[in-house]
């Protein structure tokens, strides 16, 4: 593994009140990684992603972005967030803006691109996710799958170095899951660095190069999809996968 690390998570812990949710997490995201993070509900997967994007402040430990501790970025936190895209389970598209505006807001306000350039680029990205024809629609007029594709486009429009996905397909009707996974597969194929919290084991297995299994705030197991899926070392991993894959 000689690719450059983009993010290094070192001894990260997060405690809500007295409830330790992340305990001494260590892992890194390297260039072009597609990491699937799996694990039971409440194991801290979302919290991990939210700490990486500084939507939550870590209680202890550090997260290094290209060698720099992100909790000490000061004003650079805004451009950092643009570099680390986030796609939410509940889409979180801006309801008052059109699809196009959703994809240009960050470009013009955070990256200071001028409007024309931003719109042109947004259109290019929207067509990559198959949503260009809907650029004048409002989020509420879209299906869940369409919303999520726009959310992916919104993140991509900022030319992120890595995109974090938090269960991007969990809120979707089963027949809409495919279209979002297709987009993500495309992205992975084009070398986008991604960390994906998911319950889609097929996706984890086929698309990612690394699988991280979390339980109870700890990374229990980490390895290639083959290693984790066919020969899990940890008892908890085996149990969890057994439930998912029908033992």
């Amino acid at each position: 593994m000689d690719r450059e690390p983009i993010l290094e998570v070192r001894h990260l812990s997060k405690t809500f009140g007295t409830n330790p949710v992340l305990k001494d997490i260590n892992f890194e995201i390297n260039q072009q990684d597609v990491i699937s993070i799996i694990g039971p509900s409440g194991s801290g997967k979302s919290t991990l992603l939210r700490c990486i994007n500084l939507l939550e402040t870590p209680t202890a430990g550090s997260i290094l972005y290209r060698g720099r501790d992100i909790t000490e970025l000061g004003k650079d936190v805004y451009s950092y967030r643009a570099k680390v895209g986030m796609v939410f389970q509940s889409f979180n598209l801006f309801d008052n803006l059109t699809v196009m505006e959703n994809c240009t807001l960050g470009q013009t306000r955070v990256l200071h691109r001028d409007r024309e350039e931003a719109e042109e680029y947004a259109l290019q990205i929207l067509s990559r996710v198959g949503m260009a024809p809907y650029c004048n629609a409002r989020p509420r007029q879209l299906s869940g799958g369409q919303k999520q594709r726009v959310a992916i486009a919104r993140a991509m429009a900022l030319d992120p170095e890595v995109i974090l996905f938090d269960e991007p397909t969990s809120a979707l009707d089963p027949e809409l899951v495919g279209e979002v996974l297709d987009v993500m597969r495309d992205l992975a194929g084009q070398g986008m660095t991604m960390a994906v919290v998911t319950h889609e084991m097929t996706f984890a297995r086929q698309v990612s190069n690394r699988v991280v299994f979390m339980d109870d705030g700890i990374i229990m197991e980490e390895g290639s999809p083959e290693e984790v899926f066919t020969d899990p070392q940890n008892e908890r991993t085996r149990e969890f996968l057994g439930r998912y894959l029908g033992r």
Binding site: D95, Y134, D186
Partner: protein
């Protein structure tokens, strides 16, 4: 019956003789209420946004102290102006200056003093309304805005407030109507509003009741028309954002726009044809 016809006569007499006084009073009342409400809204929005700046225990001490300090000041401001009668606030502001400077400085115009009092008062109420409006917006919207790197103020300006306005607008209307009526206390600092017109007229004619009837009708007319217009405005706002047709580029999409693309050939084609740009 004869009492009523006498009342009608008195009212008509007052109207025909003193209508310029009544009308200019109404004009001043409307103007003061309007300016006070607009400025009050500006104050309310600024305070509401400042009030919702997030902070975290791990933020540097300076930032935390500053944020808490700002919240404390706003809290005190809101409580002070919500908790005292506007008439007293007017008296306080208007007479404090000459008192402290032994008459050397005073408000050069009653207008300035009245506008200050009404807007600061309205601002206190609007601060709470704006805060409520902001809180009522789905927290996911804030997270989406944070996640693309917007600052708190940018998130508020472009994402949160445009959505919060929907629930804030009725409060703005409410405040305007309250201001139409409550500016009547400004006669205390000799502001010549609609109610001051009444005091002027009865001072000369002693026709207390007929003039009060005119006042009643005048105030009701102003408030009813305002609430009608405000309702229309709210409906317009609702309507314009609740159905907006998806305009598709006819060259890229020939079939209906609302079809779910689960089976959408168009999408599959596009994602396959895409040949990598990076």
């Amino acid at each position: 019956m004869s009492k009523f016809s006498q009342l009608l006569q008195d009212v008509l007499r007052l109207c025909s003789k003193y209508y310029p006084i009544y009308l200019s009073g109404m004009k001043n009342t409307l103007l003061l209420a309007l300016i006070g409400t607009v400025l009050g809204c500006v104050i309310g929005f600024v305070c509401g946004v400042l009030n919702t700046i997030p902070f975290d225990p791990r933020d540097p001490f300076r930032k935390r102290a500053l944020v808490k300090c700002v919240r404390g000041v706003i809290r005190a401001y809101v409580e002070l102006f919500r908790g005292t009668p506007m008439v007293l606030q007017a008296v306080f502001i208007y007479y404090a200056l000459p008192y402290f400077t032994d008459g050397a400085a005073r408000f050069s115009s009653v207008w300035a003093a009245s506008i200050l009092v009404v807007s600061v008062n309205t601002g206190a109420y609007m601060t709470e309304s704006v805060r409520g409006g902001i809180i009522s917006v789905d927290p996911g919207q804030v997270e989406g805005a944070m996640a693309i790197g917007l600052t708190h103020v940018q998130a508020m300006m472009y994402v949160i407030l445009p959505q919060a306005v929907r629930s804030i607008l009725p409060q703005i209307g409410n405040n305007f109507i309250i201001n139409l009526k409550d500016t009547s206390v400004m006669f205390m600092i000799s502001f010549t509003d609609f109610f001051a017109a009444h005091r002027g007229v009865v001072g000369a004619t002693y026709l207390y009741f007929p003039s009060a009837v005119i006042e009643m009708i005048g105030y009701l007319t102003m408030t009813l028309i305002s609430s009608f217009l405000l309702r229309r405005m709210e409906q317009r706002l609702e309507g314009s954002s609740s159905f907006e047709l998806v305009v598709a580029d006819p060259l890229t999409l020939t079939s209906g726009v609302y079809r779910n693309p689960g089976s959408d050939e168009l999408f599959r084609e596009r994602s396959r044809d895409y040949t990598g740009k990076d």
